[in-house]
């Protein structure tokens, strides 16, 4: 090879205490290419990139930028070397404006105003050049994740990065947002910038990357040209076994309605009406998927159904009316009614990260009879239960004593699923079941959901992944701006039609269906 690589890592190793996160990793990334990195949860992808960005320090190994050996002891050095990084968990100051976030650390002088003024101009220019529109004065906490990500990219571009690292950028994006992102990335590649992309979605790898590296258990196991490989091969390289990339399920056999929602309204703490008269039903043995761009009320709907959001209207479960505002309107009484809930945010809702796995296994059910009698909890029984469930759901490591925070995202998700599914709920609410989860785990999670359906349970699924909605659901409802825009059967619709509905576009055809479902 005569061409110098934009980035070359030689023998990089990194241990976190006893955990060897990266083992002797070498990799070359050519300039002007998009280089994908895939691997299971916890394989060490983020760690490797964080080393490249100077966030962590490697224990050993060498980094070459454009052929020159470069020390990257901190992010300052990485930025100086022309590297920009968009972290999996954004590194933004929530109550700062976009502009402030962009200039943070890259100010021009001790005074703020000139920097802000300059940045406003540059941002306008960048926005035009790369379709990266965001309101420079908006606060981060008011932005959607998609926009937050734009800010992260803008931050890197503002620092004139030539090398851009993106760690699971599409994990939280809607398909439209993801497409938009890819257009931007392609544009950047055309400009000669080098991009490293970490993702769990093989479709994205195939669609946009030039080369792809596979990591397993801290090691770099393969680097291949994208054009010379296939999703199946990559999946196998990643997981070490054959993976089913499609959901395998029999036709649904719906029974009586389990969940009946009528004219549901919800106003959030800021006084904004988030649900504007939702009507919906889910029958036994059926998966109803709710598609929609995030932020259109799906989260609120799940919360209201799960018992921790006040609402007006009517919700019936197995024919019985639920209390929506009174004493029995909380998560515990919903669970008592046979409603399970896998929340979309496993870190802030589904799990107590500082609790051990066994404690998390009864989270929300800790007042139930199966956790002991009287005021005391029967910790021994709970631990045994937890161990059994972890074994059944193949949670790794199968150690109930480990804190939830020490499991990888996929395994955290399995813990939540095990808790909710194993209780055999009549109705299971699932939000974003595979967000940030590797393909091996996705396969497993999808199987569990289908099995539950086949056992005659009702399932309401919310996901921003259209693929997931299309392949799992027996019926699809599309939400837009707090309303259900329409329902479709997966076999009779396509991504384009759903995409239009998700954008709030209704043609006559769409209007008709709406009539039907409501009537």
């Amino acid at each position: 090879m005569t061409e110098t690589a934009a980035i070359e890592l030689k023998g990089v190793s990194k241990a976190f205490g006893p955990v060897q996160a990266n083992k002797d990793i070498s990799i070359r990334v050519m300039p002007g290419t998009i280089h994908g990195i895939i691997g299971e949860n916890g394989a060490g992808k983020s760690t490797l990139m964080s080393i490249l960005y100077g966030f962590y320090k490697a224990d050993s190994g060498e980094i070459l930028i454009n052929g020159k050996p470069t020390e990257i002891p901190d992010s300052q050095a990485a930025i100086a070397a022309g590297i920009g990084m968009v972290f999996q968990h954004f590194k933004l100051v929530q109550n700062f404006s976009v502009l402030e976030n962009v200039i943070l650390g890259a100010e021009d002088g001790p005074m703020l105003q000139p920097s802000l003024r300059k940045a406003r101009g540059v941002l306008k220019h960048l926005a035009e050049e790369y379709e990266l529109q965001v309101d420079p004065d908006a606060l981060i906490e008011d932005l959607s994740v998609g926009h937050q990500q734009r800010v992260e990219i803008l931050k890197a571009l503002y620092r004139e990065a030539d090398i851009l690292i993106l760690d699971e950028p599409t994990g939280v994006l809607t398909p439209a947002e993801a497409d938009h992102l890819f257009r931007i990335l392609k544009g950047l590649r055309e400009e000669g910038k080098t991009i490293i992309l970490i993702t769990h979605k093989l479709r994205e790898i195939m669609e946009i990357t030039d080369t792809v590296s596979v990591m397993r258990r801290g090691e770099m196991t393969a680097t291949v040209k994208t054009s010379e490989t296939s999703p199946e091969e990559l999946a196998e390289l990643m997981v070490g076994r054959k993976v089913l990339l499609r959901v395998d399920k029999a036709p649904a056999n719906p029974g009586k309605p389990v969940l009946e929602v009528e004219n549901l309204h919800h106003i959030d703490e800021a006084g904004v009406e988030r649900l504007k008269g939702i009507s919906l039903n889910v029958r036994a043995g059926e998966i109803v998927g709710i598609a929609g761009v995030s932020g259109n009320g799906q989260s609120e709907l799940m919360r209201v159904l799960g018992g921790y959001g006040h609402a007006t209207g009517s919700i019936r479960v197995n024919g019985e009316e639920l209390d929506l505002t009174g004493k029995h309107s909380d998560g515990q009484s919903r669970r008592a009614r046979g409603i399970g809930h896998v929340p979309e945010d496993r870190h802030h809702e589904g799990l107590i990260l500082d609790y051990s796995a066994w404690e998390n296994m009864v989270f929300g059910y800790h007042r139930g009879p199966e956790t002991g009698s009287g005021v005391l909890m029967d910790n021994k029984a709970i631990k045994a239960e937890a161990q059994a469930k972890m074994d059944r759901f193949d949670v790794r490591p199968p150690n109930p004593w480990l804190s939830a925070k020490n499991f990888s995202g996929g395994n955290q998700q399995k813990i939540v699923l095990a808790r909710e599914i194993e209780r055999n709920p009549d109705l299971l609410l699932i939000g974003q079941p595979t967000r940030g989860v590797d393909i091996g785990a996705i396969e497993f999670i999808h199987q569990q959901i289908v099995q539950l359906r086949d056992a005659g349970k009702a399932i309401l699924l919310v996901s921003v992944e259209l693929d997931e909605i299309m392949s799992l659901s027996d019926r699809i409802a599309v939400m837009f701006d707090g309303e259900i825009m329409g329902e479709r059967l997966p076999a009779e619709t396509n991504q384009t039609e759903l995409g239009l509905l998700m954008a709030g576009v209704t043609d006559t055809n769409v209007a008709q269906t709406k009539e039907q479902t409501n009537g």
Partner: protein
Amino acid sequence: MDKMPAWADAVLVPLISILLAAGISALVILAIGENPVEAFMIMVKEALSTSRGIGYTLYYATNFIFTGLAVSVAFHARMFNIGGEGQAMMGGLGVALVCLYVPWPHWTLALFGAAAISALFGAAWAYIPAYLQAKRGSHIVITTIMFNFIAFSVLNYILVNVLRPQGSMDPATAKFPEATFLPTFQSMFSTADNVMFRNAPANVTFFVALAACVAVYFLIWRTRLGYEIRAFGHSETGARYAGISPVKITIVSMLISGGLAGMMALNTTMGEAERLVLNATEGAGFIGIAVALMGRSHPFGILLAALLFGFMYQGGSELAFWTNIPQQLIIVIQALVILFTGALDNMVRMPLEKLFLSIRKGDA
């Protein structure tokens, strides 16, 4: 997958930290021209080697156990209860009222009655800050600080104008009736020919404190309520999801916390002074913060930290008897112990972790 064995973290780190604190204390003692070794010997001898010394050590420790537990319970629900001082003061008021005005037939009943009322008064004093935090979002740190000041005023008024016996110069209540006197360690453990704990103030309340440790342990790690308190403390959004009411947990945990602080009065007011005096709490409410933090909010840790502070209190006052070391030096030593064991523990832990890791690597 820990970086070092649990025993090292639990024993070695605090031990080395205390040694460091002791080392610096020794330098300070040298600086004022006294002999640190001798001073240390006196502390150990007078606080730990005689039953009487132990009686004093345990007496002080009892106070710190109660206030430490109080702080810890609120802490588990992620609330910082600085109001232990005021709550303990109110607990004392409750104790004084029941001891003075209820004709108790026997001390056991009196102890139960006083325990209940002290907890009730302490909890009541914690209730308003708790309610305001839960319902109005008023920061518990401010409100509990304010309630300490208010408690001082209330007690000052009541003792000077209401409960003080006529003609007494002392802003204190009358002596409680004899039926409410609690058995001291001396009366409990002495035999006919062997007097133990002679005249030491340690009394049966110490066992109440131990029981409180056990009760708090069960509450926090064995009950559903404790599970909810900890869950809420770790993540409020998580608690909402699980159907745990933030309002309820905030209020209930503060009530328990205030109740525990209030029960400290059993030891000082009923067990030792046998009357309510103006400054009965003597800052134990604040020491409780240090005790709870050093004990990592675990009842067993709190017990150990309380004993350590009891030792420093007793050993320190003995130092003042036997040497020319002023009382303020004891405060400095306390500060150093708190600093090294509580805040600078990582200074010890980090190198130790490295050491253990390299040992393990060497083995592998």
